[in-house]
């Protein structure tokens, strides 16, 4: 689905945000991208979602080489993803329903068909009763769930979440994680960047040596297809070997 081959991303005037990263992600996997802040997690996600192009190397998304695609076709690649941003990026000038409507509008879906899908998405995240509420009136966890509803409304094959639980307390974080797992169970590839909130802290505590990161995930809810990509200063220190833990 997504294949990185020796990918390097350098922003002008800075060191490599990502250097020589290779891995691949298959359909239906649950992937954690870990690493401390500044390790290049967000950059990696942006490269996956065709928001950024690599400086070097190849990024294949559904067998399409992102660096070789024309600028004008990138938006269509991006529509394959459901994105959940670190800062939600909710639009505060419109209600929940209208927030979730935006991706559909971009795809040219409006009217009854759109309304049906928006309500289904809101229902999945448990916000069906709040469709007329303004995002500012929602709690932090509810805002995150609204952002998830917006990400899944156009039924993407890949869900990418950047620190989805970063600002939430443990209970909310567990809620959100359960939600992602539910999506994975119906065949959606889920990619989550996190520093610790999903129980990843345990893993990092177990192996303080970041150069050779353990691939095990000791979280009890972890799905069999889980995989960890651990980044350290832009380098992938944990290669993409799936470790099956039940």
């Amino acid at each position: 689905m997504i294949t990185f081959d020796n990918v390097t991303k350098r922003y002008p005037g800075s060191i490599d945000a990502i250097s020589n990263v290779s891995f691949s992600i298959e359909q239906g996997e649950l992937v954690y991208v870990t690493g401390h802040s500044g390790a290049g997690k967000s950059t990696l996600l942006k490269l996956m979602a065709a928001i950024e192009r690599p400086t070097n190397g190849t990024v294949l998304i559904n067998n399409q080489n992102v660096s070789k695609l024309k600028e004008a076709t990138l938006p269509f690649i991006r529509r394959k993803f459901g994105l959940i941003f670190q800062d939600h990026k909710l639009l505060y000038d419109r209600n929940c329903f209208q927030n979730v409507a935006l991706p559909l509008a971009i795809n040219g879906i409006t009217g009854q068909e759109a309304a049906k899908r928006i309500r289904a998405a809101l229902d999945k995240v448990g916000l069906l009763g709040r469709e007329k509420s303004m995002p500012i009136t929602l709690s932090g966890g509810e805002q995150q769930r609204l952002a998830i509803a917006r990400a899944v409304v156009s039924k993407p094959a890949i869900l990418i979440a950047d620190e989805p639980t970063g600002n939430l307390d443990k209970n909310y974080a567990a809620d959100i994680l359960t939600l992602f797992k539910a999506f994975q169970q119906v065949g959606v590839t889920v990619i989550i960047a996190t520093h610790d909130a999903l129980g990843r802290a345990d893993v990092e505590n177990q192996s303080p040596n970041e150069k050779m990161e353990s691939q095990t995930i000791s979280h009890e809810n972890t799905q069999p297809e889980s995989k960890v990509l651990h980044l350290n200063h832009g380098k992938l220190t944990s290669t993409n070997i799936s470790e099956v833990i039940v």
Binding site: A49, I51, A72, P75, F76, I77, R78, R79, F81, L83, F85, K89, L91, D93, L102, P103, A105, I106, N107, G108, T110
Partner: protein, 299 residues
């Protein structure tokens, strides 16, 4: 095709709902466009009407060709022939000196003067109506005529028409300058308004780009905003122009009546109406286009 239509309908609906939300500011922008466009429109109407007035007094403009005192009938006929063949001449009338004297004598007040004269001091003359009223062509014609054999003097009456024509030309030039300057001002005003809107919606634009909106999806609503501002402004401009003409016509008719004329300002023809509307829409659209392009460069 269907998706294309959906996208346009979507953009239009979005823009109209935004207008609804900001009724007052939308009205104010349209009004400022309307007032700006109404100015050159009224000036155009006044000039156009004056032009019509000048053409209607065309027949009053004549060139008088006076012949030398000594000449024979053959010369008169040959001159008449040349004049009739001249393409710049509309109509030629010959008045012999006897006829001229008779015409003079027909007016009572002239009798005492004529009595004191011995013989007939009047020359034979041709009265010519030129085809074109432009100062240049009349001058050229005058030159040609004075070179003819047997012609003593050529007088152009109605030099005031010549002057009026030049003044009208000047007026037209001023109008063009005024209209283009105001056009630039409009592009600046509309462009700035749309730039502000782009700024206030930067969050939405950024998000849309991230989740796969195409460039045209993002630009389309703003182009519609520009076009619709132009349309609204154009309609208001025509309305304002119409009211101004109505208002001016009351006074103009009073003045015209005192000159036994039924002159008044005509409103724009349908074609001109359409042209103003299209120019207005085009200006709005272009301003949106420019501000989108300049905003896109910065991000």
């Amino acid at each position: 095709m269907k998706i294309w239509l959906t996208h346009h309908a979507q953009a239009l609906r979005l823009v109209l709902s935004r207008f609804k939300k900001n009724k007052l500011s939308t009205l104010l922008i349209c009004l400022s466009i309307g007032v700006t466009l109404a100015l050159p429109s009224v000036a155009y109407i006044v000039l156009d009407n004056l032009n019509g007035l000048v053409s209607s007094v065309k027949s009053e403009s004549k060139i008088s060709v006076f012949l030398t005192e000594k000449h024979d009938k053959a010369l008169v006929t040959s001159i008449e022939k040349t004049l009739k063949q001249n393409p710049a001449i509309q109509q030629v009338t010959y008045v012999s000196k006897e006829d001229a004297l008779e015409q003079l004598a027909a007016i009572d007040a002239n009798k005492s003067i004529l009595d004191s004269l011995q013989g007939n001091p009047l020359p034979d003359a041709f009265f010519i109506e030129p085809k074109l009223l432009e100062a240049n062509s009349i001058d050229a014609l005058k030159n040609d005529l004075s070179k003819l054999e047997g012609v003593e003097t050529v007088l152009v009456d109605g030099t005031w028409i010549k002057r009026l024509n030049s003044m009208l030309l000047l007026g037209k030039k001023i109008l063009i300058i005024l209209a283009s300057l105001l056009g630039f001002a409009l592009v600046a005003v509309i462009g700035n308004t749309i730039r502000m809107q782009i700024l206030t919606q930067s969050a939405e634009i950024e998000l849309s780009q991230l989740i796969g909106a195409t460039k045209s999806f993002i630009r389309r609503p703003f182009l519609y905003v520009g076009g619709l501002y132009g349309f609204g402004g154009g309609v208001l401009a025509l309305l304002i122009t119409w009211l101004m003409i109505l208002f001016l016509n009351q006074t103009i008719q009073t003045i015209a009546n005192s000159y036994q004329s039924d002159f008044n300002l005509h409103f724009l023809s349908f074609d001109e109406f359409l042209v103003i509307l299209i120019i207005s829409i085009a200006l709005g659209w272009l301003s949106a286009y420019f501000s989108l392009t300049s905003s896109a460069k910065k991000t």
